[in-house]
């Protein structure tokens, strides 16, 4: 199985800070994704990438950007963190959308 590693389990940031969430996968999969999970809202797609330097907006891209300079690494960037971006962030990778492998998540708190 693919191993997807997210750099931080817990992060606490201040409003207005620039935040980087890092994700690395070990299986050379083309597709990588960033979701956020909020209670009662399920998983919502922020951005995904199907190749190096390629990115596509998901359902809720506002306030976020992404970077994929290498195939194994997909970064999510919060340009200016706000309190409504407090959430669980989940990175996923997979050869096909039909079977994604998720990281353990990063619980971000913006104060």
């Amino acid at each position: 199985d693919v191993k997807v590693t997210q750099s931080s389990r817990y992060l606490v940031k201040r409003t207005g800070e620039k935040v980087f969430l890092e994700c690395v996968q070990d299986m050379d999969h083309e597709n990588m994704f960033w979701y956020r999970q909020d209670p009662g809202l399920g998983l919502r797609l922020i951005y995904f990438s199907y190749d190096v330097k390629m990115k596509e907006k998901g359902d809720i891209p506002e306030g976020y950007s992404v970077s994929r300079e290498k195939k194994e690494r997909f970064s999510l960037i919060l340009e200016s963190a706000s309190t409504n971006q407090t959430s669980m962030y989940l990175c996923a990778a997979g050869l096909a959308i039909r079977k994604l492998f998720f990281g353990s998540g990063t619980q971000l708190s913006v104060l």
Binding site: R9, Y35, G40, L43, R44, F48, F102, S104, G105
Partner: protein
């Protein structure tokens, strides 16, 4: 507008009994459905899937049933075990975007010993 709906936020079942988790969808073009399981502080893990050309798929204690005419699928866990306590998400590949999985809001299953 939710295309994948899980209308029960929670379900409590006794150990050894059957757990039935339900999912409804609105898009008849969905051709594949997946169930993911998520423990607290962990990422979701793939559990089982079903193609729209089938009406049943079984894997050990887990069976997914698909009723296309009703746009409804269900996950059956028999027998339920305390370790099955988790949040279960139903999902389908978005027909409008090659890279998107549309998730339901999840059902939290509690299996009591």
């Amino acid at each position: 507008d939710q295309q994948v709906k899980q209308n029960s936020p929670s379900l409590s079942v006794q150990e050894g009994r059957i757990s039935i988790l339900n999912c409804d969808y609105t898009n008849s073009m969905f051709d594949y459905f997946l169930w993911y399981k998520k423990y607290p502080a962990e990422g979701p893990t793939f559990l089982i899937s079903i193609s729209s050309i089938k009406d049943k798929n079984e894997d050990g204690r887990f069976t997914v049933f698909l009723n296309k005419s009703a746009k409804h699928l269900s996950l059956h866990i028999v027998p339920s075990q305390p370790g099955d306590s988790a949040v279960y998400f139903c999902a389908a590949p978005d027909t409008g975007s090659q890279g998107n999985l549309i998730f339901g809001k999840g059902t939290k299953l509690s299996v009591k010993p």
